[in-house]
């Protein structure tokens, strides 16, 4: 019988399992050529045999700067996404900005409009936070009538997790002096489309960061170099890259990306607007679609969970399409609005199974099943798909995406 094992059982079973592991490469294979050595490098790259681990790109044929690239979630471990594999969604390309001539402007309903050059910003107190960042359109193939047959990254990979370091925005807002009647801030990027969004002032005065660094180094070009907005837990499109302007105001601008796009049409014909927080979501990255289990035996089921409302409280896993659930182990650190890695030991007997995970966050929000989500939201919402993901394991070990 297939079953999830408790941790102690896993350790014992693991011992048995390790006995059948192939010999370590260090002791390896007679006749293998002696490895070549190379010298130092100024900036390290992945091992040559790992260079297939890449972001897949989906871009507009007539407008190459418009599209997405997905984080290959199935190929990664832990909770942090390497900066070069962080997902991208650009509306009109990546501007290459000269940091010498870059400035952030804060104006509008303020006592004193201010300009901050990059050298100024680099002198402010900083804060580092590990945070997930998810596109509002992530996983949108989940609304399709038929389950999409693609690896987890090419399906759900418009989410990544980085340690962001920057200046708490409220310091600069306080410096400019906010008019007490102000309620909104229009944030604008320096990309060719001058992408703009309207943001409630309260969020910007709370935990917004002006990020200068990502995973310890200065931002990558495609992640907004030299400055991007970070809004913990909120939809990616709000976290303006190449941030250059903040206009403090008393009302939203009703820009394209908060009206025509990134709003969710409901079955009754009305649409959810300014739905900022990304809901609780989890998925199993191993095993996942496109992989094959070589045979019955012991496997680690592992995946990622996150919620825009706070920290992950619990993740359950199921092997029978959600009829029975058992708790998975959450791996430390479990941080507020950050990826959390979960793991469970699974003894597979070689018969068909349907693996699922579901997360509950610290505020008690539960990741919905697909049927429940569609009953509430219909199928035209397009954005904010966060339903439970199901992987069928066939008798031959093949893993594929199903609706269950």
């Amino acid at each position: 019988m297939s079953e999830f094992l408790d941790r102690r059982a896993f350790l014992q079973a693991g011992l048995r399992w390790s006995l059948v592991m192939p010999a370590l490469p260090g002791l390896a294979a007679e006749g293998a050529p002696a490895p070549q050595s190379t010298g130092f490098s100024n900036y390290g790259q992945p091992a040559p045999s790992e260079r297939h681990v890449i972001r897949l790109i989906g871009s507009n044929p007539r407008m190459p700067g418009n599209g997405v690239s997905w984080t290959p979630l199935e190929a990664l471990e832990g909770i942090l996404t390497p900066s070069g594999l962080h997902f991208e969604r650009h509306h009109n390309g990546i501007p290459e900005i000269d940091p010498q001539h870059f400035a952030l402007l804060i104006h509008g309903m303020v006592q004193q409009p201010l300009r901050f050059d990059l050298t100024d910003l680099l002198r402010y107190p900083r804060q580092s936070r590990a945070l997930f960042l998810e596109c509002g359109g992530n996983s949108n193939a989940g609304w399709h009538a038929e389950p999409m047959q693609k690896p987890v990254g090419a399906f759900h990979g418009l989410v990544s997790c980085s340690e962001w370091t920057g200046v708490p925005l409220r310091l600069l807002l306080a410096e400019a002096g906010i008019d007490p009647r102000a309620r909104w801030v229009i944030a604008t990027g320096a990309d060719t489309a001058a992408t703009e969004v309207s943001l409630p002032l309260a969020k910007l005065q709370d935990d917004a960061l002006l990020a200068l660094y990502q995973n310890g180094e200065r931002l990558r070009l495609e992640n907004g170099y030299p400055l991007r907005l970070i809004l913990p837990g909120w939809e990616g499109v709000r976290q303006i890259k190449w941030l250059t302007r903040l206009e403090v105001t008393d009302r939203p601008a009703m820009s394209r990306n908060e009206t025509a796009q990134y709003t969710q049409l409901l079955p009754d014909g009305r649409a959810r607007q300014f739905d900022f927080v990304m809901g609780p979501k989890s998925l199993i990255t191993s095993p996942s679609h496109g992989q094959r289990l070589p045979g019955a035996g012991l496997y680690e089921v592992s995946g990622l969970a996150w919620s825009g409302h706070g920290a992950v409280a619990a993740v359950d896993v199921s092997q029978d399409g959600g009829r029975h659930w058992v708790p998975a182990r959450l791996e430390a650190p479990v941080l507020d609005r950050c990826f959390t890695r979960f793991r469970a030991a699974w003894q597979w007997d070689g018969t068909p199974a349907v693996l699922q995970s579901r997360v509950r966050d610290q505020l008690g929000n539960l990741q919905p099943g697909r049927a429940a989500l569609i009953a509430e939201r219909g199928r035209n919402g397009y954005f904010h798909y966060n339903a439970v993901v199901s992987w069928a394991v066939d008798g031959d070990g093949a893993v594929r995406h199903v609706y269950a």
Binding site: R62, Q127, T188, E196, M254, A271, Q273
Partner: protein, 219 residues
């Protein structure tokens, strides 16, 4: 008296926070505080009395920041181009006619959005049928967009993508007139300007549920 000062961080790393109740620290914390004090002094007398009577120093700690922002003049701001709002605030002077917009559309837009605006490698701009509650709802400029001002803003910022600056404001009004007219939302023979654009009643003007309060931090 110059003095090196060590300030303990009171909240989890969100800046250098001076402990409250230390008025000297606050003064040193810079002109923001001074501005705050001036603000209090300027309050109407009645309010000032109440606030003096009821409030000690503000309950939150004051963040220390180096205050390096450079004042920006209104001239500089005027040169930046105004943010466009649904009430028409920020829309530039100028106007345009649908006939001219039709020519511009063929020249600058049709290659991606389709000759008839039916959509190609870029979204549909002309058309869209049926109610938004339909199973296969058609979300278009005509059926879905709540404000016509958003159309001008979209063009001014980013269309055509290769060179949004190629078009003048008059040309943008002409394109808006053309697209709105072809969608039955504007009379084809009337010139469109900022005032009339913001007065266009889009069919889905009241179709949105504003959830903006939800994501905000608890007061």
């Amino acid at each position: 008296m110059a003095m090196a000062r060590c300030v303990t961080s009171m909240r989890d790393g969100t800046g250098w926070i001076a402990g409250q109740g230390r008025l000297t620290s606050w003064r040193q914390a810079g002109r923001r505080l001074t501005a705050g004090l001036v603000g209090i002094v300027c309050l109407p007398v009645g309010l000032l009395l109440t606030s003096c009577a009821t409030s000690a120093p503000p309950p939150t700690a004051v963040a220390l920041a180096p205050h390096l922002g450079h004042p920006v003049t209104s001239d500089t701001l005027a040169g930046l181009g105004a943010q466009i709002y649904p009430d028409g605030h920020g829309l530039p002077a100028g106007s345009g006619l649908a006939v001219d917009g039709a020519v511009l559309y063929g020249q600058y837009c049709a290659s991606c959005h389709g000759r008839e605006g039916q959509g190609a490698t870029a979204p549909e701009l002309i058309g869209g049928d049926g109610p938004l509650s339909a199973a296969e709802a058609d979300k278009t400029l005509k059926t879905y967009w709540p404000y016509a001002t958003t159309l001008f803003d979209t063009l001014a910022r980013g269309m055509p993508p290769a060179n949004p600056a190629a078009l003048s404001d008059d040309q943008r009004y002409a394109l808006c007139a053309f697209l709105l007219a072809r969608n039955g939302l504007w009379p084809a023979d009337r010139p469109l300007d900022g005032a009339s654009l913001s007065a266009v009643q889009m069919p889905n003007r009241h179709g949105f549920i504003d959830l903006s309060a939800r994501g905000n931090p608890q007061p």
